[in-house]
Amino acid sequence: MSLHRKVIIILFSTIIGANMLLGIAPLNTNLGKLISTRLDPIRWTIGLGQKWDMFHSIPTHHSLHVYLTAKDTSGKESRYGAGLPNFREILPKKLIRYHYTFLRLFQAPINQSFKESYIKSISQALHKVDPDLREFIIHFEHGRINTLESIRKGANIATTKTEKFGPYKVQGKVER
């Protein structure tokens, strides 16, 4: 192997290795935040993001169901699934990415842009389905696991709560 090639390999490996080792600092510490702020734009652009928090925060959701209700001009209400483009019913338990997606959209403010885009996409798609529809609500039905102590004493595994987002207007032409 040529010296030139050896130097390139050593430089490449040392830089990539150092980036990984810097990823050991937890993101909730000042050092972790500082490293993340400086390096994340490059890391995530090229595919070397260092965010390893699998199951560090244990899931407290027992179930999740998201659906829509829309009202037409006469006040008649119809129900739709939350899956675009066809408003099919989505079962996040079977397709885990939807579980993460909906939780992030509706419970993590940092995903606000994606949430707004989803609402706009629903608005447009509903108008295509039925131009008489005027407004819609997103129902976010999630079962949060009760404390182990209360389940031991006879409570249900989870308490289901429905949060409603909206009403939002159904609009055919939405400026993106």
Binding site: M1, K6, I9, I10, F12, S13, T14, I16, G17, M20, P26, N28, T37, D40, R43, W44, I46, G47, L48, G49, Q50, K51, W52, D53, F55, S57, I58, P59, T60, H61, H62, S63, G83, L84, P85, I90, P92, K94, L95, I96, R97, Y98, Y100, T101, I110, N111, Q112, S113, F114, E116, S117, Y118, K120, S121, I145, L148, I151, R152, I157, R176
Partner: protein, 294 residues
């Protein structure tokens, strides 16, 4: 310089790269298959978000710049074609011919998915993207097709040798993944109280539903702490040759348990198990002889 040379450039049997390449190629294959049902909803312009918004959202979440293929290929049919090409590329990668090009296709499609739908990513997306990047610049043992590898598994004299930097980088990444997650878990309420496994088995991830984990909580409490110890130990055990078998057993056991007890987590487990390929060396005795004779 000598330390760096020893760390990154030490020669290893190219078949080690070949088994890692084949393992990750199959992982990409199953991963892209798994993405097919989601493609319209999370990747297309008739789905949950528009590509223009995804570019902004990706920047807001990571500070990075979205260079996703799916900013350009936006319709359902175009996305289907891109994923099918990625599936074919993963099979070509496993075979070994045009491996570099095939890996580039797999990596770039995977990176594009993360850039297009960061709100829909899972833990194994990041792992696959990282390992894909490392392998892209590593030897791939591409002269070794699965068939050649099978036929010449026991062959002693293998030349030329490859520098080991690619596999060492994957090994470091495995270390960081396990240790970082344990450090995070130590600061978490449920892990600190020994309740994490019980909650996991009551959650939407649970394959066997019902309140049975409550009755088993005393045992699960101990498994909670044991899991943390195992996660800390796995990379160390894998690193040391004499304890590698134990590391493999523990790691595979942990991830198989996650797959059996949880649903939707098989790909995560498969990803971590595939990463162990960077540690294993079935031809170790021969490599040592060659290196010592140099």
């Amino acid at each position: 310089m000598n330390i760096f040379s020893l760390l990154w450039l030490k020669d290893i049997d190219p078949r080690r790269y070949a088994i890692t390449r084949i393992g990750f190629a199959l992982l990409f294959f199953f991963h892209f298959l798994h993405l097919l049902p989601y493609r319209e909803t999370i990747l297309s312009n008739v789905g949950m978000s528009q590509p223009s918004v995804a570019r902004i959202g990706f920047h807001e979440l990571t500070g990075g710049t979205s260079i996703s293929l799916f900013n350009h290929f936006q319709s359902s049919s175009e996305i289907t074609v891109v994923l099918i090409i990625a599936i074919i590329a993963s099979l070509i990668l496993a075979w070994g011919k045009w491996a570099r090009i095939a890996l580039f296709v797999c990596f770039f499609v995977q990176l594009s998915i993360v850039h297009r739908a960061p709100a829909s990513t899972t833990g194994w997306d990041s792992i696959l993207t990282n390992f894909g990047f490392i392998l892209l610049f590593s030897p791939l043992g591409k002269e070794w097709t699965p068939w050649n590898l099978y036929k010449k598994w026991n062959k002693k004299q293998i030349v030329p040798y490859n520098p080991r930097y690619g596999l060492v980088l994957i090994q470091i990444q495995v270390f960081i993944i396990y240790w970082h997650t344990v450090i995070q878990k130590l600061g978490d309420h449920y892990w600190a109280k020994g309740e994490s496994i019980t909650y996991f088995l009551l959650s939407h991830h649970a394959r066997f539903t019902g309140s049975w984990p409550i009755a088993w909580h005393d045992l699960l409490d101990k498994i909670n702490y044991l899991t943390l110890i195992i996660e800390l130990a796995i990379p160390v055990l894998l690193w040391i040759r004499n304890t590698r078998k134990l590391g493999l057993w523990l790691g595979i056991g942990l991830h198989l348990s996650i797959t059996i007890l949880g649903i939707n987590l098989a790909l995560f487990s498969l990803t971590m198990i595939a990463s162990y390929l960077a540690f294993i060396d079935p031809w170790v005795t021969h490599s040592k002889l060659i290196n010592s004779s140099k």
